[in-house]
Symmetry: C2
Subunit: 333 residues, 2 copies
């Protein structure tokens, strides 16, 4: 894949710059998933954690610490913390969404039921706090506990607004900023904090993470409809079937005539869908360039992520972080 | 009630000793339940938090801090923290158990569905960590994050063992120590820690909380069958219907003949219950004095809780904490 796609190569380059640290993060994760009293915990957690996620968030923490010249040990713990929080939210998301699949495999709630998914999520969340406490940094604890609260708020807000077609994108942007970008932001920010970087650098890293996270979610939401090149894979249309008013839908809705708006209201707000609706939806998106405009929006956040790093001296790590921002949007282009 | 029952009067005395602090805790709880972006959060949280719980756990934190002569402000935050953790676990428990009722009212998952219950639980859990961080005490953060992990482990262990009849009480005791006593223990311990008490006092408070929590759960499990006086209320037999192998069941099973053991296996392990089974179960418990023995066990933990406090100089607060331990078992006597 890296050979074909220059942006995927950018991710590989970033990963190789933190490869040694990442191995230690993986070992720590494996070590801390263990529960003496409940063997079901590591079994279920491993299903998700080993399921081929890219470890993008913990890699960002490691990279941010390295960019700031950190030479200590705590970034390993923080990277594991970030991955645990992410995994806990995935477990709970799948329960909330009633998802059957996660990363192409049967989801944990499908295999073990909702009960252990809720409780193992709670366990991983607690473990993440134990790991943070071990860093001894109250500042880091503040950042990550705030991020966790913001993520939960975003998920609750999404719950009550996800099927609502709106005239503007305010609520949508608020939701993705909270449910996705908040953890990216905290992941990069704590890398700088633990390195004792000057506050301007820490702010720049937070900004980079926030913009990158927004771009990531925008790209994901375009990708759910096949992306700009309309690659039709197995999971195309999941958001449509669930009636999620993501940005591609909002753009097509906002630019549609009364007939088209009626179509979206029926499919998204009332969730009364018929055969052929997804194809019709894709046609309307094409007519209004909804996917192109979504990716364009992602690109503007990537440019902002890029420029946030400009205060750091040039280095292979800064270059890799800049390039990986491009990778995040290119997935959907 | 206080007039009739000397042990309930003990709880009132403890409550009145911390009444001013408790008002501030309640104000802080109300203040921190608010979420600007998701109004559903305070609505759902208030349903549970204002539902007439006794606030026993936060009261214990306030009392422990006061017993150690604390004059600062952080015990208010810690008491709210403890109540938030407790509420989060209740929300998730009700989802896991599929409960329709909580404290005699429709449960949150019944009224709003499982989705917001999971997510608002996550939010309250995050809020609890934000509150702890504000105390600036890494020791407190360590104790409460450990307790949270232990609680989750206990819940997962319970999930896989709750319908198992065993020849001994080891797993049962491990579960109740984790799912119930761990938070009591942390609640009293952090009161001592925040007061800067000597380590012997902190250990004594932790011991008191642990023993009290075990006694509390034992009494609860006896109460579910009407307690020693077999008061038959609306909720008698809930544990039986759910096939929970609590101590009263284990005692009756362990002391039963082959016929009786077959009855318990059918009702608890296979959960094939028929009309009249609860009455038969109560008869077997009576024959084997299962409820009396459960309460006796609770009393021995209360005695241990009592004696843990002996290193503190005599005071109205020490007296109230000793007496409230009696109250915890007397509920079921």
């Amino acid at each position: 894949m890296s050979q074909e796609n220059p942006d995927a190569a950018a991710f590989d380059r970033l990963q190789s710059l933190v490869a040694q640290d990442l191995e230690r993060v993986n070992a720590l994760i494996a070590n801390r998933m263990v529960s003496e009293s409940a063997p079901l915990i590591p079994e279920l957690a491993a299903h998700l954690i080993n399921a081929g996620g890219k470890r993008l968030r913990p890699i960002l923490t490691l990279a941010a610490a390295q960019l700031c010249g950190y030479t200590g040990e705590h970034h390993i713990r923080l990277a594991a913390t970030v991955e645990f929080i992410h995994t806990a939210t995935l477990l709970h998301d799948d329960v909330v969404d009633g998802s059957d699949l996660r990363r192409g495999k049967a989801s944990a709630n499908r295999l073990w039921g909702n009960q252990p998914s809720v409780l193992v999520g709670d366990f991983l969340f607690s473990r993440s706090f134990q790991l943070m406490v071990e860093t001894g940094s109250l500042e880091v604890l503040g950042i990550l506990s705030n991020a966790s609260a913001v993520i939960a708020e975003g998920e609750v807000l999404q719950l009550s607004t996800v099927n609502s077609l709106a005239e503007d994108d305010k609520i949508y942007m608020r939701v993705i900023r909270a449910k996705t970008a908040a953890l990216f932001e905290a992941a990069t920010q704590v890398g700088g904090v633990i390195a004792g970087a000057p506050s301007a650098q820490i702010e720049a890293l937070a900004r980079y993470g926030d913009e990158l996270g927004i771009a990531f979610q925008l790209a994901d939401d375009a990708l759910d409809y096949g992306g700009a090149t309309r690659r039709l894979g197995k999971s195309v249309g999941d958001d449509f079937r669930e009636g999620k008013a993501t940005l591609p839908v909002l753009i097509a809705y906002q630019n549609g005539d009364e007939d088209q708006r009626g179509f979206w209201r029926r499919c998204i707000e009332k969730r009364r869908q018929e055969e052929g609706d997804l194809e019709h939806a894709l046609g309307l998106m094409s007519r209004h360039q909804a996917l192109e405009k979504t990716i364009e929006r992602a690109r503007s956040h990537i440019a902002a992520a890029h420029s946030a790093l400009s205060l750091f001296p040039e280095s292979p790590m800064r270059q890799a972080l800049e390039d990986v921002a491009g990778f995040v949007a290119a997935r959907a282009a």
